[in-house]
Amino acid sequence: METTDLTVRLGKFTTLLGPSGCGKTTLLRMIAGLETPDAGTIAIGGETLFAGPGSKEVPPHRRGFGMVFQDFALWPHMTVFENVAFGLRAGRRSNGIRGTVMEALDKVKLGGMAERYPHQLSGGQQQRVAFARAVAIRPRLVLFDEPLSALDAVLREEMRLEMLSLVQDMGLTALYVTHDQIEAMSMSDEVIVMNGGRVLQAGTPEQVYGLPRDPFVARFIGKSNWLIPDRVMFRPEHLLWVPEHDSEPYHSYEVEVTHVGYMGDRYELRVKTEGEAEEWTAYHQTRQSVGSKLKAYLSERRIHRLDATQ
């Protein structure tokens, strides 16, 4: 890990996004107290949780967080009810355990499954139990460590919506780790893109997609076309076949289609442009034949210079 600085705002859904091995899970585990950083501070509200090794280290069980693990980490020898009640019992909050647990289970629609064991549940249900367990203790912060990666694609989509609406309904502060850019873009208030143990950019999903500050961010999130490699780029949806506004300044290019792929709602083209090193991606509403030549237009204001925002 390199020196990083990040802030999670109260009541917001923040996502750490990056390829596998970029340090995002390590960062999350440091916040949880499962790993010890070599230096630095971690604080929540006004309370310092960590201020350098040896000087102050609040152990994980006194940080008051909830966490959903990648492999769920449900205790196989406890029922669903006991799994969810664990945090309450451990914290000696034994008043009204039953009510609190059942409320959490009802929220994830598992009220009827309280007496089952984890291995008797499906993957999606196990995921919901893990979520209920993390929120039942009313945590100050919920940590998600790639919670959807163990589920199949259809279930993942469904759980994404469900989890997001639960987090929003309960007004929780969430820190979510994923390598899936669609998850990150669709769920978050704020996205933090990481690579190689470094935070590259933090901002709203729109900022990160529209105004990337780093070539890695530009390439990792969405598709990118480069006018000057690693410096000047634009997004494929802005390369049009008629000028956007005649009044605005625009560039025009002669392009040759090298590849066509049908995506259902549109055709995705790979095009070669005279004088450009890299091929570009573009979208079209009708099928084009490979080798055909087209005229393409790009508004000046759609061109993004990475160094301009640095």
Binding site: P60, F69, F86, I137, A150
Partner: protein, 553 residues
């Protein structure tokens, strides 16, 4: 193809029955069938003999105490190896197998030499001489056996702790549970199933063990079932009735515990949910606790390996025992004498090597065949074959040997194998065939069926697929089985003591005889040579194996 497979299963069952099941049944038959007629009363009369019940309770008490002893050693060790930096020392994992791989009779001899009156402890630290009387008691026996068996429990517990692994415990920490609470609610319950299984196996291994009772137990007069069986068979007055009765008791006890263990295991083993490999927990202990853990590990190494091996090596290199530990009393003459061509000791060593080589080769062929017949034990016949082929691992060695003697020495037996070298080989094969079965089974169960399907799709005939796909993938398992059989057979004591033809010795019986009433130095030199030789072989084959470039999974 299908016909061949069915014939193969049937034939393997016949072979297994003849080799393993019939001898065991023979024990039960003999204990109720006396002088040509059936006498149920004979069994109960022998049982009621108060001496035998006493022996039985001694065995059980010893088993229980050794469970306690091994737990006290293995549980902290497993915890340390999983949860502290010490666990990163990979060499420790191999070193901790040494006590288990040391033949128990050699370990006990080492301890006796160290602790006896005017032994090495007294010579090194005269102030500690007062310990000697309290060591040569039941407590000392329990300690020696615990120090021998703890690695077995340790491996099981460490495996369980690793599976409980990072995230199950971490989840507890994050949701507000301090360490003691996590231990009580998460670690202890999950560990229980592994511990229960391990404790039962330790119990069975303890009551089945012969080496320590035959050396240390004999010296302090603590008799257990195995040593009594040996006594009734080998020394005057010979009483086969009592031997078979005790054997059937021991056999029943072991089979019962083994059965209970499988039932409990099925009920209390949880399928831990989740896919990604378990990460080592990083909730590590810090500061002085790590030092304390290091001290524990060092002390354990000293007691379980350091002391026995020191004593054996010291005893084998000492000119005069009376002079004691001194550099000018050092000599390698005993090794020269031991390894002189034509000497009784060299003959014994060669016998050991020859018998073990033949036995391990036969055992590997048979074991591989059984393993391939068993496959994933789906049908009833395959399960039966599986059960039969693993019986010698469950049944105490001495019981198996008694059964083999009863069968092959029976008056009606047409094959006169008894009292020949062939009987020795047969005994070794029967005793150690489970190793190959297990190794090959685990190697072949790791092979994905799609590998064979791919072979068929690309036009391979069954024979070709067997030769080019299956065989190369199970060869590591076969090699491991061969190596294990050779190593253990070449030091095997109980079978060798009971079935060796007259005037034939192996290294184990040689060591035993020299220690009892001969030159201790020569016996210990033989112990060093036989342990050293087999260890060297393990190391060579291990280093060859690690050069393999692919994995079977």
């Amino acid at each position: 193809m299908k016909h061949i497979r069915i014939w193969s299963i049937a034939l393997s069952l016949v072979v297994l029955t003849a080799l393993i099941v019939v001898p065991l049944v023979e024990i039960f038959v003999q204990s109720v069938y006396r002088d040509g007629e059936l006498r149920w009363a004979a069994l109960f009369r022998t049982l009621a003999d108060s001496q035998l019940t006493g022996v039985m309770f001694s065995s059980i008490w010893l088993g229980l105490c050794v469970i306690a002893g091994t737990t006290a050693l293995a549980l902290p060790l497993a915890w340390i190896m999983v949860n502290t930096r010490i666990g990163r020392q990979k060499w420790l994992e191999i070193v901790f197998l040494i006590p288990f791989m040391t033949p128990p009779y050699i370990g006990s001899m080492g301890w006796i030499l160290f602790m006896q009156k005017n032994g090495y402890l007294e010579q090194l630290m005269p102030g500690l001489a007062f310990l000697t009387p309290s060591f040569f008691t039941f407590g000392g026996m329990m300690m020696i056996m615990s120090l021998h068996l703890f690695p077995f429990l340790y491996l099981l517990l460490r495996g369980a702790l690793e599976r409980i692994g990072g995230s199950l415990e971490e989840a507890g920490a994050i949701h507000g549970a301090p360490f003691a609470y996590r231990f009580r609610r998460i670690i202890a319950p999950l560990l229980f199933s592994a511990f229960g299984m391990g404790a039962m196996l330790i119990f069975v291994k303890t009551i089945a063990e012969f080496g320590t009772p035959a050396t240390f137990g004999k010296r302090i007069g603590y008799q257990v079932m195995t040593s009594e069986i040996h006594k009734y068979i080998s020394s005057w007055p010979i009483d086969f009735g009592k031997a078979t009765t005790l054997s059937s008791l021991l056999l029943t006890a072991c089979l019962f515990i083994w059965y209970a263990q499988t039932v409990l295991n099925r009920r209390f083993t949880y399928n831990l949910v989740g896919g990604k490999g378990s990460r080592r927990s990083s909730l590590r202990m810090k500061g002085w606790t790590v030092w304390l853990c290091g001290l524990f590990v060092a002390l354990l190494l000293l007691l379980s390996i350091g002391i026995p091996y020191f004593s054996i090596i010291a005893a084998s290199t000492m000119k005069l025992r009376g002079v004691g530990l001194a550099w000018d009393n050092f000599t390698l003459d005993f090794y020269k004498q031991l390894l002189t061509w034509g000497s009784p000791s060299m003959k014994a060593l060669m016998n050991s090597i020859t018998f073990s080589l033949i036995a391990s080769t036969i055992a590997v062929v048979l074991g591989t065949w059984f393993a391939l017949v068993i496959q994933r034990s789906k049908t009833g016949l395959q399960r039966t074959a599986d059960l039969f082929s693993l019986l010698p691992n469950t049944v105490p060695g001495i019981v198996m040997v008694v059964g083999l003697i009863l069968l092959w020495n029976a008056p009606w037996m047409p094959i006169r194998l008894y009292n020949t070298g062939g009987m020795v080989v047969l005994t070794y094969v029967v005793l150690f065939v489970p190793y190959t079965v297990q190794y090959v089974k685990s190697a072949s169960s790791q092979i994905d069926p799609s590998l064979f399907q791919a072979g068929q799709v690309f036009g391979g005939r069954p024979g070709y697929i067997f030769r080019r796909v299956l065989l190369p993938l199970i060869i590591p398992g076969m090699l491991a089985g061969w190596m294990m059989t050779f190593t253990i057979a070449s030091r095997e004591l109980v079978g060798s003591l009971l079935i060796m033809p007259p005037s034939v010795q192996t290294s184990a019986t040689y060591i035993f005889a020299q220690f009892e009433q001969g030159q201790v130095s020569l016996g210990m030199a033989m112990a060093v040579v036989s342990v050293g030789l087999t260890t060297l072989m393990l190391v060579i084959i291990e280093s060859l194996g690690s050069r393999r470039k692919w994995n079977a999974s």
